[in-house]
């Protein structure tokens, strides 16, 4: 049943990456009868394979190929070779994501118009808006089975949530709930209800959390229109002398180079690998890389303004029990410049196991200040900040001097906080600590951002070709049959976890590509 396409079949759509963007696009196209070859750099792991042990799972799933870092962000110092914590596997980062599935707020599609010009920021309005996205969001919520949408019940609150909720309500926050989550609160779409096992970041062994790995990918394969090639590391995208892309070169597991011809190519390798691939595909016709006439490929890298807050109490919390991130305060997500910054942030419950708490509590920290916090791990509650960060032209992906195992230049990730990011983070730290203090925390503390999980903006969508890399369909301005299908197409980051929006954009893009193919325009 699973398709097998010839390397010389130039009628296929080649999708690079199989996560929230590529994996969904692959299935949606396959369902419409479009032939797809999806190239995935990682292997295939399913719920039985997932390991409920933080470091072992990290070794199994994380993208560990070389990357380099620069800029004044602390990640460049603490995790110089690991700027992001994302997944290299079929299903991509949907294996590891927490499941938070929230729509952008209406004004966030129009960041420049709403916030006005912000010095040092490269703000822009998206070429699409909330009304345009409404039906696609609805389809995405149905696909993912998002709780607290379409009449689905919310997840039950775990201990970590109960502490968070009690503190938030004491502070007067109103929008406090267990979140709109792509984790089943009851059986849905052949997936069971959440069993409160924890380890959401390590792959859900129950399959209660939506992941492309065991939904869209196998369903696409079942149509006979989708072939997924695992351990296929794409080296470059090729084009002809008319400037249209014609195929991609990739290394297989053994290091053999193959050329897969293509009618259309979609890039969906997350916000480091996607621009890296376009830059590594430079040619005499496109000396600055593919789709880069604007010089915007790799620029405007966003990672959300994050950070965590932990509170220690005089009694046990056992935050690790149950869903990792089912809890949210949305009151601060509004745009309210009186707080000293533009845009807003969400506060979401978060728990780490002891091994990762030790690694992330205060990277590089040591001594009793560090260990007395860990001593009370059992009495600890945790939350995470997700806020809109400012796109900056100088925060960017470039090609590094360092080469990967295939001899290809790796991505260098340069990031420095904008003053708006710093002001927002400090506000969020203060509010988060106040939440815990309100319910009797004996100690609370802010912890620095982890390696990025939300990587956005490096091939951004723009109305005008000179402002970005792709148009409102994710189609590159320069090359009609080259598409961007992941979070790198984000014009701005908004305050919300990005996966739902990536999925909604992928469903919409599939509809567009299939329609344009049928009309003979692609």
């Amino acid at each position: 049943m699973v398709a097998k396409f010839d390397l010389n079949d130039d009628s296929v759509v080649v999708i690079i990456g199989t996560g929230a963007g590529g994996g969904v696009l692959a299935n949606e196209l396959a369902q419409k009868g479009v032939k797809v070859v999806a190239l995935e750099a990682g292997g295939r792991y399913l719920p039985d394979d997932y390991i409920n042990d933080e470091w072992d799972s990290f070794g199994q799933l994380a993208w560990l190929d070389a990357r380099t870092t620069s800029g004044d962000w602390r990640v460049a110092k603490d995790f110089a070779g690991l700027p992001a914590w994302i997944v290299k596997a079929v299903g991509g980062t949907t294996t590891h994501w927490a499941g938070a599935s929230i729509r952008f707020q209406e004004h966030e599609w129009k960041a420049l118009s709403t916030y006005g010009a912000v010095e040092g920021a490269n703000l822009l309005d998206w070429p699409i808006d909330a009304a345009e996205m409404e039906p696609w969001y609805a389809l995405a919520e149905t696909k993912l089975g998002v709780t607290l949408t379409e009449g689905r019940a919310g997840l039950p609150g775990n201990n970590n949530y109960k502490v968070f909720e009690a503190g938030a309500k004491k502070l007067g926050y109103k929008e406090v709930h267990t979140g709109r989550m792509a984790i089943n609160s009851s059986d849905y779409d052949e997936r069971p209800a959440c069993q409160q096992t924890g380890f959401c970041f390590q792959g859900c062994k129950w399959g209660a959390k939506w992941s492309a790995a065991y939904t869209d990918i196998p369903r696409g394969e079942a149509t006979g229109n989708l072939e997924v090639r695992e351990h296929a590391h794409v080296a470059r995208i090729l084009h002809d002398d008319t400037g249209k892309v014609t195929g991609v070169e990739y290394f297989d597991k053994e290091g053999n180079l193959h050329l897969q011809k293509a009618r259309i190519v979609s890039v969906a390798g997350n916000s480091f690998e996607s621009p890296r691939l376009l830059l590594n595909s430079a040619s005499s016709m496109f000396p600055n890389g593919l789709a880069n006439s604007s010089d915007q490929v790799g620029r405007n890298y966003m990672r959300h303004t994050t950070g965590s807050i932990y509170g220690i109490f005089d009694k046990p919390v056992r935050m690790w029990r149950g869903t990792t991130m089912a809890g949210i305060v949305q009151d601060e997500a509004r745009h309210d410049p009186s707080r000293g910054f533009v845009g807003g942030y969400e506060l979401e419950t978060l728990a780490l196991g002891l091994p990762f708490m030790a690694a992330f509590l205060n990277p590089g920290g040591w001594g009793r200040g560090f260990t007395t916090a860990l001593d009370h791990y059992e009495n600890m509650a945790g939350m995470w900040i997700v806020g809109e960060d400012m796109p900056q032209a100088t925060n960017r992906i470039t090609l590094s001097e360092t080469k990967d195992q295939w001899g290809l230049p790796v991505a260098n990730v340069h990031f420095s906080d904008h003053p708006n990011d710093v002001a927002m983070r400090n506000h969020a730290y203060k509010q988060g600590m106040a939440i815990y203090d309100a319910v009797g925390a004996t100690r609370s503390f802010p912890t620095p951002p982890y390696p990025s999980t939300h990587n956005l903006g490096t091939n951004r969508m723009s109305e005008r070709p000179e402002d970005g890399v792709c148009n409102k369909w994710g189609q590159t301005h320069d090359i009609a049959n080259l598409f961007i299908s992941d979070g790198s197409q984000f014009t701005t980051g908004a305050a919300e976890n990005p996966t739902l929006t990536i999925v909604a954009l992928a469903i919409r893009q599939a509809d567009h590509i299939a329609r344009e193919m049928a009309a003979g325009n692609l």
Binding site: N52, D53, E54, W55, P156, G157, N158, N159, K162, V163, A166, C194, Q195, Q196, T197, G198, F199, K205, W206, K315, P316, V317, R318, W320, R321, G322, G353, L354, P355, M357, A358, A359, G364, W366, G367, R368, F370, T371, L374, D375, Y377, E378, V439
Partner: protein
């Protein structure tokens, strides 16, 4: 710290001497042992004194008074390796030099943690310190036997998760 040079002692005798010695003891050319003989470790590449120094360093970097020495021993035993010998030799020499610069005989002879921490602070920018510290993050905290000391329960899938086992059992709010 007394070093017992005599060969031919049995392991039991060595451990006995370790008890007599009081503190964490270097108990022979190839052994380091706990004062209560709860555990002992054989070293083959680096010296017992060096291993004792590494263990004290580990405890001073990540001090948890409820965590027994044997867990710290597991966390640093990998340094008894030919590949690590140069790093350990040079690193501990620099550590002891820093201790001497602060008026002590050597690092291990310093009685108060506070004073040892000052010595560690003098070398914390060095590769040796950073290697030992970074290694401890996984070497110490990723020991499954350490987790229960902190109350951490590890995986729960094999027991059906926490849905019927207290995911929401908090009773003090």
């Amino acid at each position: 710290m007394t070093r017992v040079e005599r060969k031919g002692l049995t392991r039991r005798a060595l451990l006995g001497r370790a008890v007599a010695a009081g503190a964490l003891a270097v108990a022979g050319t190839g052994f380091i042992a706990a004062p209560d003989a709860a555990w002992a470790m054989e070293v083959s590449v680096i010296t017992p004194e060096q291993m004792a120094t590494l263990m004290q360093m580990a405890r001073d970097i990540y001090p948890h008074d409820q965590v027994a020495d044997r867990f710290y021993a597991v966390a640093v035993k990998g340094y008894d390796d030919a590949a690590a010998k140069d790093l350990v030799d040079a690193g501990i020499a620099a550590l002891n030099a820093a201790a001497q610069a602060q008026g002590h005989a050597d690092y291990l002879s310093i009685g108060w943690e506070e004073d040892r921490v000052k010595v560690l602070q003098a070398i914390e920018g060095e590769v040796f310190f950073q290697t030992v510290r970074a290694g401890l993050v996984t070497g110490l905290y990723n020991q499954k036997d350490v987790w229960p000391i902190f109350g951490y329960e590890g995986e729960s899938f094999s027991q059906g998760g926490y849905i019927d086992r207290g995911f929401d059992d908090i009773d003090w709010l």
